[in-house]
Symmetry: C2
């Protein structure tokens, strides 16, 4: 069964949806057409061979449209979601779904009133780097993972267009943070006990262009989430500490390494003092390589568009549980609220979240 999708807001991300849907989702989802309040983006959609509605209202009035993808600037998500539910459509909302938990609760309520599906395009649940880390957290080849760091860093310095404007819900917590938080909550099935965050506006006057957020889960597991637009020598995408080993994934191409303690008892390491350039140290003495073993990274890879839209289609057909559930997105929004609160007050925000 092919589901017809209307797209409201035809920016770069909507164009990426359209390209991928047309390329690989035939038979599952078809694009009925798009609307955008900007004439030049309606022209772009026409140039891309898409049907163009002259207004959002015209799109929502088309009975052929079953699902609406809302891909406008972030401040448009709530009002347009309300309109879409009022028109009896299912809604896929780009991330961040809303600017706060309170706003997202209104979206959930509208969905329930309409009896229509609400989901959020948390496509990075199918990123290959994330899936590899998730497998290491779950299968524990390094022992229990007690600390991880998830970073996305660039040096563009300035946020593009509306993403730099506070009124539109710009800034890096909303833009990238939302993905990194969602991924971490997917991996660690526990309540968040503490959220402490530091936000920076280094080159953007209105919004955060860098942030560090340190989460602590109920059992003590720690997650550092960091996004930077001003980093010229980046950290790895992931750094994951298990009780007996470490995983590093450098980038989205999944270059990386996984190292753990060898289980060969005869390789037990005797205590030794090492004289480094900075003096003697026993606790920081370099570990002999023969006491460690290198493991291959998990083989798992993802295919986000096929997985995301395939799931939405099957959920609508009653064949599968929805992958990105409103309750999950609500938790992500609560962590985002906590990050902004911590950044504003300088306090650590306590859970459970």
């Amino acid at each position: 069964m092919e589901h017809q999708l209307g797209i409201i807001g035809y920016g770069g991300m909507a164009q990426w949806h359209a390209f991928n849907i047309n390329k690989s989702l035939g038979g599952t989802v078809r694009i009925a057409g798009v609307s955008d309040i900007r004439a030049e983006r309606r022209d772009a959609a026409r140039a891309d061979g898409l049907r163009v509605y002259e207004s959002n209202e015209a799109l929502l009035a088309d009975p052929a449209v079953e699902i609406v993808l809302i891909a406008t600037p972030n401040d448009g998500h709530l009002p347009l979601t309300r309109q879409a539910f009022a028109a009896g459509k299912h809604v896929i909302c780009e991330k961040p779904a809303a600017l706060s938990t309170a706003q997202f609760d209104e979206m959930i309520a509208a969905s329930e009133r309409a009896g229509k599906l609400l989901t959020v395009h948390q496509n990075r649940r199918w990123d290959s780097d994330f899936l590899k880390v998730k497998e290491v957290v779950e299968k524990q080849p390094l022992g229990r993972v007690y600390m991880l760091e998830s970073r996305v860093q660039g040096s563009r310095q300035v946020l593009n267009g509306w993403r730099g404007a506070a009124v539109n819900g710009g800034g890096m917590v909303y833009d990238w943070g939302v993905h990194l938080i969602d991924q971490v909550l997917q991996m660690i099935p526990e309540s968040v006990a503490e959220v402490y965050a530091q936000l920076f506006s280094v080159h953007c006057a209105e919004v955060d262009d860098n942030f560090k957020a340190l989460l602590r889960f109920e059992s003590g597991v720690s997650a550092l989430i960091e996004v930077s637009m001003n980093c010229f020598i980046t950290h790895p995408r992931w750094h994951v500490c298990g009780e007996n080993g470490t995983l590093v994934i450098e980038d989205w191409d999944c270059r990386g390494r996984m190292v753990r303690l060898s289980d060969k008892e005869e390789l037990k390491w005797d205590e030794v003092i090492v004289y480094t350039a900075a003096g003697p140290t026993r606790s920081m003495a370099p570990r002999p390589v023969e006491t460690m073993e290198e493991l291959p990274l998990p083989a798992v890879t993802g295919d986000s568009f096929r997985s995301f839209y395939g799931n939405v289609a099957r959920a609508l057909e009653g064949q599968e549980e929805l992958a990105v559930k409103p309750a999950e997105t609500r938790r992500v929004m609560r962590v985002i609220d906590a990050i902004f609160e911590s950044g504003r007050t300088g306090a650590c925000v306590k859970g459970p979240i």
Copy 2:
């Protein structure tokens, strides 16, 4: 003028002091002798050619001893410092000077009552890696530094001897944290406004064997301090973000890189969407290399024993201000108190510190 030093506690660190003093401090400081409550360490001192006192009291009773270096387990620092001041000696205490600010205040009071010098062996103020970072913070070749990370990571897993015992003031906050905190406070001449910390006991039952502490200074400058004994793929020793560039120092040998925005206007980078393995991104598009320039690391290097003891000698002679001042160590102790409080309560501890 040659100052005579008595050493109380002849463990690995005292041995390192003795080796370096004998090697390169002739004419400045001479070792009068050592004491240790353990017979085997008195034997070790004799084997190293040092005079051995049969008790700490005998050492303190020797009028030839002008300065006492206290290099016992950490819980011995306060009682032995008191004894040394009561005997009319100047005191150099190994780090951490004390287990809390309250304890250190007793040491300061004892010093003032005795009218004798108190200083702490914060030798890492002369580490070459630190001096290079400090120069970058001060001279600003990367613009204003707004965020830095200072890490020491190993994979030894288990703390050696008394360093693993709570009663002796073991654990990584006291052992390495004290250095990294002192360095950061030396570099950033501002009050600490916030301290949030996460402590871990991964393989040590009694004390912290890993910790992350996130400091925020008055103006918003951020410092992440991390020590780990369970990291098999380490981060760089330093990661420093200026407004227009990044400095990374990998290790104590000062391998590293410094990169900043080129100031050539014609190399301005046009906006572009890049399609990565994880989808399109404009904000995280890789920066063209021609818009950056590589700078050499600062040339400055340090010589900690010569600098530290030379300063103590000149301070005693009234020729120079003391390098490691009790007021500075007191601030370090206050940050340590805040780290433990934050770790215990899960709250962020507010300054000013």
